[in-house]
């Protein structure tokens, strides 16, 4: 085997070279490898990596051939370790032929690799595995036409049953064929590719592939040590000029255009039969986006989320964590543990009114963690079941009715995950004015996932009437501001959902892994901010500034909103992270310091409150400090205005909560 660090450029296919299996993840490559090689297999890490590569021997047309199974990849030119290993094997092992293993149900993913193999001038045979499952789903693939378009042999297979193995062996025994299918990119990219190709040394094999890689994957291209340094530098200059033309990263633009070429091929060879009986999942999937039938499904899902997060997460789990784990064990233990500390201020900083353990860790672990855990679990279930895109389709309709154009709706939906990141996605909007409008709406009225979780938790203890009023105030605000936005945002339909995945039973492992990843991300991000926020409040309290701020805010917080003075500290926390502020209000509510009306008003104010510090800095980055201050300057009085008007209205109408 040639070392991947050799000074060789792309090696030409060798008649005596190995057969290399390439394909996307989970397409049955390893099953096919097992069929071809039986028991003559060695598995070892690819040199310099942790990626395992299996090698074995197979008998093809009476000749003993080496077969190599590569890791599953979706893009041969991407910078990941698996992709690098696969690329290195293709470049340096001089394969006689590649078997591109495809999932027949998802041909487009494999054809992306086919287009790249074509560019790399590597001969291959396309094995359409899982053909039986494709047939069951009513998918027909015209393999003859596909073979004509690609210019290579195409074989249908069911590897798990050994079906099609003889056809594959016959195709492998024939002369290796190079594919004629490669993607054509837009004019600017094609010109850049041509420029780079002319820079490459004479005799460079597959120059187009090398050029595309130099333009899209600098690090990967650096591994092609046959490319002289001065060529790489000049290619980098071409790449910089080209990159300036696109909003998205160049790698993404190239992949996207390659995918367009693939879609055209798929459209010409793919056909779907009406299967004899529509599955229950398919019927449910269709109903879930129906303008009328979809509504009760949305309501039922939201109700279940509310019950699970609001009652189980915020009630049962928070009660256990706060009352038992922290109340009975951690806080008393921490108080005992720091009792020997001679300096009072240090003791207070750890276990005092604004103490590290008693506030930051208690809020972080005892209140927010159980709530966001249940929320993230539900969110992962929605994602993995395929319902989330359907929910987005349903939510898209009322948002459009509010007067927001299709493109503007998208960041609003994304804001339910994280407003900070959603602010960044406003880049998809065409004008600065549009971006500013949507950024304002996001900062104003769209609670992020963590805040929404805590709010749902608090609602769980307040009953449906408070929840309905809170939803009504938010939707009313969105309608009012959305209407204003529509006066300056000319509408255009959105087609942001590319494909609706089939509705299915979520896989437990996927849901658990997604939830774990989210929790880890949340804890890493949130705890340092909670600690910083608590330290800030502790400092304000020690300097006597907190009571001065409370007195200063008293006309607003106590007289206008009708909240107790302690709520001021929670609103200050809300600027650091809105979920932190919401957790503080949750704590006050549970301690009986807020009645239902005060809870409702405080929830509305904290939802509409100024953007959290991360979102504020994102607005500074995306626009300017002046804009961020202007957004905060509008939202701050607006949140208090709405909260105060709500408080007065509920009192005047004598609405029982």
């Amino acid at each position: 085997m040639q070392c991947h660090g050799s000074k060789e450029t792309l090696a030409a296919p060798s008649k005596d070279g190995p057969i290399v299996l390439v394909g996307n993840p989970n397409v049955g490559k390893s099953v096919l490898f097992g069929l071809l090689t039986r028991r003559y297999v060695t598995v070892s890490n690819y040199p310099g990596t942790t990626v395992e590569v299996a090698r074995g021997a197979a008998s093809v047309d009476g000749l003993r051939e080496v077969v190599i199974d590569t890791p599953g990849v979706n893009n041969l030119l991407a910078p990941g370790e698996c992709e690098r290993v696969t690329r290195d094997i293709l470049m340096h092992e001089r394969p006689s032929v590649v078997v591109l293993v495809a999932d027949a149900k998802n041909l487009s993913r494999a054809l992306v690799l086919a287009a790249q193999l074509g560019e790399m001038e590597v001969p291959f045979v396309l094995a359409l595995n899982m053909s039986d499952e494709a047939q069951e789903r009513g998918i027909d693939i015209d393999t003859g036409l596909l073979s004509d378009i690609l210019g290579v042999e195409v074989v249908s297979m069911v590897a798990t049953r050994g079906e099609g193995l003889d056809d594959l062996a016959r195709a492998l025994a024939g002369p290796p064929r190079l594919s004629r299918f490669t993607a054509t990119y837009d004019e600017a990219i094609e010109q850049a590719v041509e420029q780079v190709v002319t820079l490459l040394p004479a005799g460079t094999r597959a120059p187009r592939s090398v050029a595309v890689m130099l333009l899209t994957n600098r690090k990967g291209a650096a591994a092609l040590e046959g490319v002289p340094e001065e060529v790489a530098e000049r290619a980098a200059a071409i790449r910089r000029d080209l990159r300036a033309r696109y909003r998205q990263p160049l790698g993404y633009v190239v992949n996207h255009q390659r995918l367009d070429a693939v879609r055209r091929v798929v459209a010409s060879v793919y056909s779907r039969r009406q299967t004899a009986r529509e599955s229950l999942a398919s019927i449910l999937g269709r109903l879930a986006i129906h303008p009328i039938a979809g509504v009760p499904i949305v309501l039922a899902v939201l109700y279940l989320v509310y019950k699970f997060v609001g009652e189980f997460g915020a009630g049962t789990l928070v009660g256990f964590m706060e009352g038992t784990v922290f109340g009975r064990y951690i806080n008393p233990w921490a108080a005992d543990a720091v009792a020997w500390v001679p300096v009072g201020i240090v003791r207070d900083f750890l276990v005092g009114e604004y103490g590290l353990v008693t506030v930051a860790l208690t809020y972080g672990f005892a209140i927010i963690l159980p709530i966001v855990s249940t929320f993230f679990l539900v969110f992962s279930l929605l994602e993995d079941s395929g319902y989330l895109p359907r929910l987005a389709v349903m939510v898209n309709r009322p948002f459009k009715a509010m007067g927001l154009n299709g493109k503007a709706v998208l960041p609003m939906i994304l804001g339910l995950g994280c407003d900070t990141m959603a602010t960044m996605t406003t880049r998809i909007l065409d004008t600065r004015k549009e971006r500013l409008q949507v950024t304002l709406l996001l900062a104003l009225a769209v609670p992020c996932s963590a805040q929404l979780g805590v709010i749902l938790g608090m609602m769980g203890g307040l009953g449906p009437r408070v929840t309905l009023i809170w939803v009504g105030v938010l939707v009313g605000t969105l309608f009012a501001v959305g209407y204003l936005a529509s006066r300056v945002l000319p509408g255009r339909g959105s087609d942001f959902i590319q494909e609706l995945p089939p509705l299915r039973l979520p896989r437990l492992s996927n849901v658990v892994l997604k939830t774990l990843a989210r929790l880890e991300w949340y804890l890493k991000e949130v705890l340092p901010l909670f600690i910083a926020g608590t330290a800030f409040l502790f400092t304000l309290d020690r300097l006597g500034a907190l009571s001065r701020i409370e007195r200063l805010m008293s006309p607003l917080v106590e007289s206008w909103l009708g909240l107790p003075s302690q709520a001021t500290g929670m609103l200050i926390m809300g600027f650091l992270r809105r979920d932190y502020g919401a957790a503080g209000l949750f704590d006050l509510s549970r301690d009986g310091l807020l009645d239902p009306l005060q809870s409702l008003v405080s929830l509305v104010v904290i939802t509409l409150f100024v953007p959290c510090i991360a979102n504020f800095f994102m607005i500074v980055k995306e626009f300017s400090l002046k804009t961020a201050l202007a957004v905060a300057g509008f939202i701050f009085p607006f949140a208090f205005l709405v909260g105060g008007v709500l408080s007065l209205t509920v009192r005047a109408l004598n609405v029982g909560l």
């Binding site: 979706n74 990263p249 993404y252 992949n255 990141m421 942001f496 590319q498 990843a517 991000e525």
Partner: protein, 69 residues
């Protein structure tokens, strides 16, 4: 990876979290380049790696037990 919202397939390496974000350092969030939906790159999560390792060990133990029996 595949976007859970719009179904678009993309490489997480192409669309790492924006360096403009003040919390970008070590951030595992990737945004779908088509619709902007935020997904977590599970390969960056320590908890996920540990869970996967635990799952693999459990499988091996179960396999070894089957072989013994």
């Amino acid at each position: 990876m595949k976007c859970a919202l719009c179904g678009h397939e993309f490489d997480a390496d192409d669309v790492r979290c924006s360096p403009a974000c003040p919390l970008a350092g070590g951030c595992p969030v990737v945004c779908c380049p088509r619709c902007g939906y935020q997904t977590l790159d599970e390969s960056r999560s320590v908890l996920v790696r540990l869970a996967r390792k635990a799952g693999a060990v459990a499988k091996r133990v179960a396999g070894a037990r089957e072989e013994v029996s």
